[in-house]
Symmetry: C2
Subunit: 311 residues, 2 copies
């Protein structure tokens, strides 16, 4: 993992944006002042989709891939954002530029919007686009990643099935994940992965999961977000000649895995060193995980994967 | 159904609130100005619970029952709102009083709140309470109710199962319901009811469902919100000597039902006159439905069910 760098607030466009900059209703605002209408059904029905792209060392990582997935998501929900893809990209650049952040967590959301008075039909709402850039978010900090995370497998909750909510359309329906997280805390773990009703491994709060087992790198095929970091790991693994398998598997495979790691735009490739209180492998981040993580962070500086922010 | 009445804006505390009044962060605001932080995980994780109580003819309908359910909901999510039950009730009264509305839709929400910088652990967020009163909302207007609704049974989506998200904790996880609603529109119906994975009837966007079949009034037992209107209907049915059955049933029972109706705080007891394009009974709102609806609206004026707003 590489050092994070931040331009001091004095060098930014405006110090008011140093904690983050948002775009709401056509205006740029300091993140602390950024608010959405309480009547937006993006809130009151969670009728929205979002995406998150990282900025690292002043460069967007795979911005086009994120914008393309985001477009598939809002189209699936039959949303019509007020900006096209180029317009959105321009807003994201400007949010980061105003914040002055070199390492940022950049979120974009399209919501259904607020019902006009007396109207219940969501086809008649004016859809909204919001975006913000804040300092880079770590699901697990570099310090925690150095020793590896303690992961619990949820027992009291299952993942929302794709037949109800399509997890490929990135969404805020996190009640199952949050319930799992509280269960993990009770069992003195740090985060959680959920199974589906058939007992197959799915995903956790904000991440996909990989297991290195029988000299193959496994990740669940279905019932999960098709994460950009997950996709990047599959590409890097292929480049390094690692066998990969995108398929269903159950908790028994995790229990005998040599290595486990979690992937997210908010934290990268995060080693798991304990599973339900027992060590994974020798109880330290594994070699495969470390090699992929090094390559992942290196990729953030490479023009084939990343594009400079227009500061 | 009774006539709706509204005090003209000139008689309200402040005409600015005539379209509705909200309570956000300790201040009362006109509904159009009421906003929540874009970083509140009530939005970005839908990590929140809510309740809706009606005001009709200047009286709250079953306010205590709503506040009690709301308390069970936020306790289930391990939320700690900044106001106690009496404090919340006072805010709800004041929102209605400022709006001057005699018939209102009054919503209260507790959210997990915004992450402090660098914090991911939801146990460390300061929880928030929001509330607002707006003009009474009709899922189906009185005009539509007079002829009955056209209801579709969703085929392309199932209800989120209780093993993932407990529907008794009233929540904004509506992606399945919204997906079903769009499916209904495509099939030229007006609203939708979802089945679970076992093919059992559950609920629709904002309502419970009842069927009058074989001289018994049926409503699903599990996998649904325990609606206050549903509870009121069961009580009124018992008072009138109708047999009721709270149990699982499938779409076949709906297909042969003599009457079907939907229940919600936002619309009351709403007759269904067509199911997937075919008439229910004789294709007009039924006698049982009409009798229950009359009693339901009458109950809104009765002190045993309702309490006057402190205008």
């Amino acid at each position: 993992m590489q050092e994070s760098t931040t331009v001091p607030a004095a060098f930014t466009e405006d110090a008011a944006y140093a904690a983050g900059c948002a775009w709401v209703d056509g205006a740029y605002l300091p993140i602390a002042d950024a608010r959405i209408p309480i009547t937006d059904t993006g809130f009151t029905r969670s009728d929205c989709t979002y995406d998150v792209v990282a900025v690292w060392h002043g460069r967007f990582f795979r911005l086009d891939a994120h914008l393309a997935r985001f477009e598939r998501s809002w189209q699936a929900l039959r949303l019509s954002p007020p900006l096209d893809r180029d317009g959105m990209a321009a807003v994201l650049h400007e949010c980061v530029r105003r914040s002055g952040l070199r390492d940022a967590y950049v979120e974009m959301v399209v919501t259904r919007g607020s019902p006009p008075p007396g109207v219940r039909d969501p086809r008649r709402f004016a859809n909204r686009f919001y975006a913000f850039a804040i300092p880079y978010v770590w699901i697990a900090t570099p310090e925690v990643q150095a020793r590896g995370l303690h992961l619990a497998i949820a027992r009291d909750v299952v993942r929302i099935p794709p037949q109800a909510v399509d997890p490929r359309v990135k969404n805020f329906h996190w009640a199952d994940l949050t319930r799992g997280l509280f269960e993990a805390y009770e069992r003195e773990a740090e985060t959680v992965v959920l199974l589906n009703a058939a007992g197959e491994v799915t995903e956790g709060p904000g991440f996909n999961l990989f297991a290195w087992c029988d000299d193959v790198l496994w990740t669940p095929a279905a019932g999960v977000l098709e994460g950009i970091t997950r996709d990047t790991v599959l590409a890097l693994a292929a480049e390094h000649g690692l066998a990969t398998r995108v398929a269903a598997f159950d908790a028994a495979l995790l229990a005998r895995a040599d290595e486990i790691f979690l992937t997210s735009t908010a934290g990268g490739i995060m080693p798991v060193s304990r599973l339900d209180g027992r060590p994974v492998g020798d109880g330290r981040p594994g070699e495969i995980t470390r090699a992929l993580s090094d390559n992942y962070w290196r990729a953030h500086d490479e023009p084939r994967w990343s594009t400079p922010v227009q500061y």
